[in-house]
């Protein structure tokens, strides 16, 4: 195998363009490897060469995919790659979605293999095309080296057209593809052994993964907003000035409840924003851009909403593990239920 051409996709942060203030950055191409691409190149060795890197802002891709993705695809195509690598995206939601979209587009439009890497809980996982291989990555860049080793190993296997091992051995997210193999004991024997291990509290590995999809039954519509008590919840990171509850700007562990009685508006003096996942200066300048209390107050006066549950429930929805989000959500939902709230306006980002 001669040295094959690899094109790499990175967001504005890992591409060295800048942080959230540059999240609107237009797609651009750089020659050779950039940022994490440097180590990736070392790991790929002489068999594969990162000929260029396409860098694009996370917000640019997330908010204007229809106009941005074709540009990214064009830049990738111009590099004449045999393989597209995107990320690792870790647990960054917008970046994960971008990597998923870029890889799927490369598969379809360029008809070449594509591989990315992300944390298993990254929302981008749901958006990944089945034909795209996703290496398992940690939640943050702290595991960059190990994650890139896994990613490079998979990339080389694809390029050499070597068969992949099982997902948990080769370190990729299960693709749902099944491969027959012979076992030395019957299914009944293996099942009883598994049951005994379970009863003894010992670890065991199921041979069948039961998919765990949340089914959220839609709440029935409220018959009349003018007779409805509305609750207000946000994960935008709007907090009281000084953040007295100490809500973390990412991987938040708690939520806060702020009484709204007597609060006509969310002034920038009394409220701020501590979300660390986007450029929050516009929310700090006017918190109503995340929590529309100004509109709700007017609607209350006009009778378009019956009543407001006079509490703002708030946290930071940035890189929050799904299990923790479930717990915080349950806690807030219980408060809302106890207060007889009938409907909720929820503002995320």
């Amino acid at each position: 195998m001669g040295s094959v051409r690899v094109a790499h996709y990175l967001n504005q942060f890992f591409g060295g363009v800048g942080g959230e203030e540059k999240a609107d950055a237009l797609p651009e191409v750089r020659t050779g490897p950039v940022g994490p691409g440097q180590l990736l190149q070392q790991l790929l060795g002489a068999d594969a060469t990162i000929v260029g890197t396409v860098v694009c802002g996370d917000n640019r891709m997330a908010e204007r995919p229809a106009e941005t993705l074709p540009v990214v695809l064009g830049l990738l195509r111009d590099l004449g790659p045999d393989l597209v690598v995107a990320g690792p995206a870790f647990n960054a939601g917008r970046y994960g979605l971008a990597c998923a979209a870029v890889c799927a587009a490369a598969r379809r439009a360029l008809d070449i293999p594509a591989v990315t890497a992300m944390f298993p809980e990254n929302p981008g996982r749901e958006a990944v095309d089945r034909s795209v291989l996703v290496a398992v990555a940690g939640p943050t860049a702290a595991t960059m080296k190990a994650d890139l080793e896994r990613l490079a190993g998979l990339a080389l296997k694809i390029l050499r057209q070597q068969p992949l091992g099982p997902a948990d051995v080769d370190g990729y997210l299960p693709t749902g593809r099944r491969v027959n193999e012979f076992a030395d004991r019957t299914g009944a024997e293996r099942m009883v052994e598994m049951l005994l291990k379970r009863l003894r509290g010992e670890p065991y590995v199921s041979e069948l993964v039961v998919p765990r999809f949340d089914r959220i039954p839609p709440a029935p519509p409220v018959p009349d907003l003018g007779r409805t008590t509305l609750g207000l919840v946000t994960t935008s990171g709007v907090v009281r000035a000084g953040n007295p509850e100490g809500i973390e700007s990412w991987r938040a562990t708690k939520w806060a409840r702020y009484p709204l009685a007597g609060v006509e508006a969310l002034s920038p003096e009394a409220f701020t924003c501590v979300h660390g996942g986007y450029d929050n200066r516009y929310i700090r300048a006017n918190p109503h851009r995340a929590v529309p209390l100004d509109v709700l107050r007017r609607y209350l006066r006009e009778g378009r909403i019956g009543r407001l549950h006079e509490v703002l429930y708030t946290t930071v929805g940035n890189v929050m593990p799904v299990e923790r989000a479930r717990r915080l959500g349950r806690e807030v939902a219980q408060e809302l239920r106890d207060a007889n709230v009938q409907a909720v306006l929820f503002t995320a980002t």
Binding site: A62, R281, L345
Partner: protein
């Protein structure tokens, strides 16, 4: 629940039934490039749309826009 997000793909993938497409990640219900009155009108339009979805029957994750 009416769920406002600048990236509807995320709540839809999580199974949220009523999703309203907000303006942008750094200003979900606003737009600092607009004059104050027009920005307020944009916020009201998005908020009104979100509230309206609460009165609508949905059977699966559905994305609503202010337009």
């Amino acid at each position: 629940m009416a769920f406002c997000s600048a990236i509807p793909t995320i709540p839809v993938s999580a199974g949220v039934p009523r999703v309203i497409h907000g303006k942008a990640v750094p200003y979900l219900l606003g737009d600092p490039s607009l004059p104050a009155e027009r920005e307020a009108a944009l916020r009201e339009a998005l908020t009104a749309r979100a509230l309206a979805t609460l009165t609508m029957e949905v059977t699966q994750p559905t994305v609503f826009t202010a337009d």
